[in-house]
Amino acid sequence: MTDILRSWIGGALPDWLIVLIAYLLVTLIVLFYAVGNFIMMVWAERRVIARMQDRLGPNRVGPAGLLQPIADAVKMFTKEDIVPRNADRWVHLLAPIVALAPVAMMLAVVPWGRGWEPIDLNVALLYIVAVSAVSGVGLMMAGWGSNNKFALLGAMRAVAQLVSYEIPAVTALLTVVVLAGGMSLLDLPYMQAGVPIMGATILCGDPAGCSPLLYSTVTSFPGSPNEPVQALDLGLGWWVFTPVGFLGFLVFFIAALAEGERTPFDIPEADSEIVAGYMTEYSGMKFATFYIAQYILNFALSALAATAFLGGWQGPGVAALANMGGPWVHVAAALSAFYLLAKIWILFFVMIWLRGAFPRLRVDQLMDFAWKLLLPLALVNIVSASLMVGLTQWTSAQWGGLVNLDGFAPWQRQLIAVLVTAIINIAAAYWILAINQRPREAEWDEEELVIAP
């Protein structure tokens, strides 16, 4: 963007101003993209959940009810802004902003398409995690500043949930860090080129005879410091197809559900128990701000899950188009952006689906689930990820002579790694599920049991 602006306005403006304008423009574009998606998500959620409940959903405003979010927005704008008399005015006012701002900041580092990256931050994954943790402060402020028991209770629940689910989420993302050998989000889609399960390990035998439509230059298969190679590239080497990536994706997605306060983890705003949680005392635009924050958080988390595990913008045809060069590169970029958007929306559909299917968890179930199931699985997964990297890339010297895979072709090593990690992960999943089961009837100690009143 900076370069384009430089070429347009050239020397008319000082360079720093051009940089500033470019950043502002990119920010605006990303924010509008997110808000546009938010609008569509609100509409889609209502329509889809309605169909799941054998209803039609909003279909009056505009074609198929598409303008319903606009109508809602108008309603929100024109509503009275009510601040409870004993509320802490400033905290009450700032809370929605503090909740929304970090969520919007998360969008800055996501690569939205091939070459469409707002910011290249080399600690992007950590940045996303850090920034998403900040919104907890906003929730706490909302709960405390409202001077309302329900709000405070909701805020405490929300923050407790956010903090405890951050740990499995971060641990699952660590898998990606191990696989990628870095925390930059930009490299992740490039590393997920190739074919399912095997990744970019099926190399071109004869560099001259490989069609650029099927083969592309891959600088590294996961984390490898090797020379660039020509590998078969269908844009499908997503990590979710490997055992490590699959388990990591599951854990991360579940944790993301909890962080985004989606059903079945919508305990903080359980409307049947505590009205609307921390949003109880909010109305009008402030409420809308929370609402937007929640949906954009879901959007960003879906984007992160898609980028980290589902190949991001990677998809069939992107590499081929990019290899054709010239204007096709832009077509490839557009196609890749579409792929990412499609993945985000599929994940969002799953979120709606889960909301349609499952009831809300209790708080203790929620905590049990995070600490007794997700976290052990994620920890085991990190071990698997390390093994995966070691088996595919380390030389026998790095292994200290324990394992010698130097003579194998990349695809053979990949296959071995996939098998080993699959065994480890499946065994671990069975074991952890088994020890988490309720005690069998034969093992009941009747003194310990309490019959619910």
């Binding site: 995690v129 943790a133 900040v134 907890g136 009941w444």
Partner: protein, 217 residues
């Protein structure tokens, strides 16, 4: 460009100091904690300005995302104390003011200003200075700082266990609430125990409401 950085530094410094002063002076302890968060943010931004990206992000993650949330939780678990009637400062707070003020004006500023700092020579033009990032930090932790790293890990574990032990609220009994199915199963078992010789017809095992209340025993 340098002016921009200077201005940014001054802004961040102002945010940090103003927030810190508010933190130690406001009456409402929740507000103090919120001002502290603002100060943490300023420090994080300063780290980014000093090109310590990893540290800046870690600052936000740990201080803002964890420590301040912990503090807010603690405040809210020990409520009714931030009432404005309560004096927030000790009776001899002016002594507490004199000591840091003296420390700052008599010791820190003269030392910092007069000391001859041996700054490394600026790198040759057009070549950015080599700045260590996240990867170097990771490598350092695994090599020369392995022992401190492990100690830190143990410290964190100890802190976690300690925090749980200290704050643990002992209940009379840890109990598990049965699901309805389990409750039914339990009834059946108790029933079987009460009737060691089960009657032949299965209908007899059906529990009548009056029996189930335990009047038989």
């Amino acid at each position: 460009m340098n002016t921009l950085i200077t201005v940014l530094f001054l802004i961040f410094a102002a945010i940090i100091l103003a927030s810190a002063i508010m933190t130690v002076t406001v009456k409402n302890i929740v507000h103090a904690a919120l001002w502290l968060i603002s100060s943490f943010f300023g420090v994080g931004a300063l780290y980014l300005l000093m090109e310590a990206e990893f540290l800046g992000v870690a600052q936000v993650l740990i201080y803002v995302g964890a420590v301040s949330i912990l503090i807010l939780f603690a405040i809210m678990l020990t409520r009714d104390l931030e009432g404005s009637q309560n004096r927030q400062l000790t009776p001899r707070w002016w002594i507490a003011l004199i000591v840091p003020a003296a420390l700052f004006s008599l010791l820190i500023v003269p030392t910092v200003m007069t000391h001859a700092w041996q700054l490394p020579p600026p790198p040759p033009a057009g070549q950015p200075p080599a700045i260590s990032g996240a990867q170097q930090i990771g490598a350092a932790f695994m090599r020369e700082y392995l022992l401190p790293f492990e100690v830190a890990a143990i410290l964190l574990t100890v802190a976690m266990i300690g925090a749980i032990v200290v704050a643990f609220e002992e209940r009379e009994r840890r109990r598990r609430v049965l699901t309805l199915a389990e409750q039914v199963r339990l009834r059946q078992r108790q029933q079987q125990r009460q009737q060691p010789a089960p009657r032949p017809e299965p209908a007899a095992t059906a529990v009548q409401p009056s029996e189930a209340t335990g009047s038989e025993t």
